[in-house]
Amino acid sequence: MRLILGVLALALATGCAIDTAGPARAAERFSAAIAARQSEAACALLARKTAEKLPDSGQTCAEALRELNLGDPGGITEVNVWGDTALVRLAGDTLFLQRYTDGWRGKAAACEPVPDLPYDCEVEN
């Protein structure tokens, strides 16, 4: 019985002990960089795989991000964290983040919802 209660407590802890501050800070920094047209700074906040996939051949991440001409994502309206992943809704965007040892990084940005399917994101890995 104690083992079961332990697993239940573990499940509740892993499911409910939510640290939303980390992803919220990362999303705020990314949003501020996009709003200020600081593409290099925004790229530095992306996950490595996302930053590598974004540019076309011969382009840098910052050039590719500038070319997308993303609008001001605005302030945070909702933060959802599950394990090492997070979804942050902003007034004008939806961001997906992933936790790494050096903190939260953007996995996908400029995302539009698609009913019953994954979000359609202009920036994704």
């Binding site: 697993v7 239940l8 573990l10 509740l12 599950w82």
Partner: protein, 223 residues
């Protein structure tokens, strides 16, 4: 030494359980880390993995089904028989049985448990304590599966750039029921196999089998 011998069965199963649980955690971590790398995530260590929702849901989904299996076996064999099976009572003995046969109340023996000698709620609780405990562990494990399951499922969904779902949506989702039913069907098949095969087959020396020479029609006889 005799204490170990007297408890050899429990010790053996506890040791195997712990080895398998540790093995599951290791294999689960390696599998999880493979998926993390594919999804652009970061591998986790052993301690991080055994406190993750992924490990918790995989443990809990198996636990709940095992306790459900034994709960059903304990309850069904009160009222249902299988002629020829050592797992069953004799046909005609269906039901909760008399106080005399159950050695309760005034029929209790000198070495009967204290709550078998009393009346009322304590006797009722003790009379059903095995089923109640198995049932409680089943319900708690299944609840743990649902809570850890929604956390693990939502982490996967966010990784796939999809919206998370609520607990109430998760417990009606295909993921939850696939995890539950795939375990239930295998447990029920195992019980069915035990009940039916033990009519015709024998394992010499095992109390789970009839004696080798017992008739196929002999019911409730253990070797």
């Amino acid at each position: 030494m005799s204490r170990i011998r007297d408890n050899a069965l429990s010790i053996a199963f506890m040791a195997l359980f712990l080895v398998c649980l540790a093995g599951q955690a290791l294999a689960g971590m390696l599998d999880y880390n493979e998926q993390q790398l594919v999804g652009g995530g970061q591998p986790v260590g052993y301690l991080d993995y055994i406190t993750s929702s992924n490990f918790a849901v995989n443990v809990a989904e198996n636990w709940q089904s095992e306790y459900l299996q034994f709960l059903l076996f304990i309850l069904f064999t009160i009222w249902m028989v299988q002629r020829g099976s050592p797992e069953s009572k004799e046909p005609g003995e269906e039901g909760a049985e008399s106080d005399e046969k159950q050695q309760i109340g005034r029929y209790a023996e000198a070495d009967s448990p204290a709550w078998a000698r009393v009346k009322g709620l304590r006797l009722w609780l003790y009379s059903n304590s095995l089923g109640l405990t198995m049932g409680a562990i089943f319900v708690l494990s299944w609840l743990a599966q649902s809570v850890a399951g929604v956390a693990s499922y939502n982490a996967e969904r966010l990784g796939d750039l999809r919206d998370p779902v609520s607990w109430s949506s998760y417990v009606t989702s295909p993921d939850f029921w696939n995890r539950s039913l795939q375990n239930w069907q295998s447990e029920l098949l195992a019980v069915l196999s035990m009940v039916v095969l033990s009519i015709y087959l024998r394992q010499r020396g095992s109390p789970e089998s009839k004696p080798v020479g017992a008739a196929h029609t002999a019911t409730g006889v253990e070797g």
